[in-house]
Amino acid sequence: MSTISPTAPAPDRTPAAPRTEDSIVKTILGRWETLIVGLIVVVFIIGAGISSEFLTGDSLTTGSSDFTEYAILALPLTLIIATGEIDLSVASVLALSSALMGYLWNQGLPMEAILPICILAGALCGLINGWLVTGLGLPSLAVTIGTMALFRGLAYVILGDESVTDFPTNYTDWAFGNFAGTVIPNTIVLFLVLAAIFAVVLHRTPFGRAIFAIGANKEAARFSGLRVNRIQLRLFILSGAIAALAGILLTLRNSTAAGNVGDGFELTAIAAVVLGGVSIFGGTGTIGGVILALILLGAIQKALNLDPDINTAWVNIVTGILLVGSVLGPNIAARVREARRISTRGTRPPRPGRSAAPQSGPGGEGNTNA
């Protein structure tokens, strides 16, 4: 990923070395999540003003189930971005999984066999990405631009211009239904379970600490004995498998398998991850922040869609501005603080954050010396 403007020091909210600057990280991350919660509250108030239908169980059900796939894609993406890599191919894997599902169903296989095959196929896609990135040392941005076209193309090859719609109703009803008498959709319950697992893995296990260590400084992580390549390979496989799962859910929810589903989903998922406070350089971020960002984006979309006088294009505009603003805002705040500090003390304190870490890079250019 060539996302680093080389001259850019770290944004304030994305310090690179959580272990060395624990207290700073805490306060800032705390603040970041608080900020998003604040924004959510604002959107809820505005949304309630836009339509009386906004604050209803119906909104929660429909709004959240329509966001399921983005949300599920965002989980493994959080981990990958936290290591400083990226996976643009997730939506194409989703489509490939959907197309494969339709194809196998047409071939007369039972659903019980199809679902694991799709997940495995997704994992295989992830393995290809992961091998190109870790085995060959290629930048993940370039690799996944390529596989994005490749996997989407294969989805078309598998299913052509067909779309398959006759999936068994007990499966589609589940995907469309709510959890045991509540208004919470089944798919969201599945997401919450996955999110809990991802949160525990990322924030409570050595594996999670390794992910942040790699994102903070890949070389240092390698020297400290972490098997960087193996961890990254696993993350890509995980990303592929989860994307395939999202493909299955989308297919069942819409009762339609086709090669063109999920076009552009990767960008919304990445937007949620970045908005959730995960540094695109890697090294920081929380699953909680990403979940909050998903809630925020979902609420904005819902609120704007409830008013027929608001052009749907505003969702794009607001999402774009929020995305940039989420990184720009803290940077400007940091500058203002710094300027004040300089004027009062007369000395220039060291910049917080990334100055501690060398500009090790996202996109696997750490491997360019290999």
Binding site: S23, E53, L55, T56, H203, N254, N260, G262, T286, T312
Partner: protein
Amino acid sequence: MRDSRFTRFLALLFAVVLGAAVITGCGSTKDDSDDSGSAASSSSSTAAADSSATIKQGLNVVVMPKQLGNPYEELEDQGTVAAIKETGGTAKIQGPTDAAASSQVSLLRSITQQKPDAIVLAANDPNAVVPVLKQAQQRGIKVVTQDSDSAPAGRQIFINQATTQSIGVQLAKQALQTAGSAGGDVAVLSATANAPNQNAWIKIMKTELAKPEYSKIKLVKVAYGDDDDQKSFQQAQGLLSAYPSLKSIVSPTTVGIAAAARYVSSSKYKGKVAITGLGTPNQMRKFVKDGTVAQFALWNPEDVGYLGGYAAAALASDVITGKQGESFKAGKLGTKTIGKDGEIVLGPPTTFTKDNIDKFDF
């Protein structure tokens, strides 16, 4: 320290879930009452259509195109808006910014929550929209599809621009007429590979071409331009290189026919290879006048939308229920009768040639 962050996150998550649950609690009761109310009213009204009843004033209708910014769809939607305005109601256009079925589905859910009297839409995918449309109907919202149908379970009335059969036959005829008396190879340049209406037309066209009177015509290829100008352009060029004996390109999509005509008009194939299919007169006028295109066809998209608007108004006013044989007045289009499967056919498409094209402006 690490623990405290995690605890904070859990607390936050808990707060959000709790908040959602509270909101949900109040919301769902309200919804339930609403649902039962509207279900009751709609069930009582569906018992008998009152053809003498008049169109209600102040109807609130939402119109959804396949995608915002698609000019053909915009024309259709303008027709719907005009029709609803004539009946004394208001219609608003709300559509997705991309042509994906899932975007339409999520938008439809929000529209259902707005509880308009009726929804008029062109479906991106026949099946993906059915569950949400069923939900809408359960809440008493009338659903009309136009131009591109959903599965019949999702809607009450479908405004068909012309029967799928007649369009498929028309395309086959166009192929025969433009390929010349000696016949030869023809190719189809379609929209996206998953487009429901194009695929249905092409299927009919193929059956038609298998008949003996079309024995001189050979369909060599169906190419997809994805309704993207450049891709369609490139496809047209590739077709002409790949099939040197090609006599005609039939493009059943307005983007494809314009791109193909544009390519041929500036190439050595001009006058040798015919372009035909479905296009709007405004887009094609230039190519008809310069001789690239001899004929093409289309219905008036505004009329499709106009009819859709009146059908929605009649449904929402309980003038009709969507059953076969019911009829209603559709403004300037006169009285229309519902056919099999809730379909209303606008009429045969108009064929445009250099003689009549200047009479049309859309």
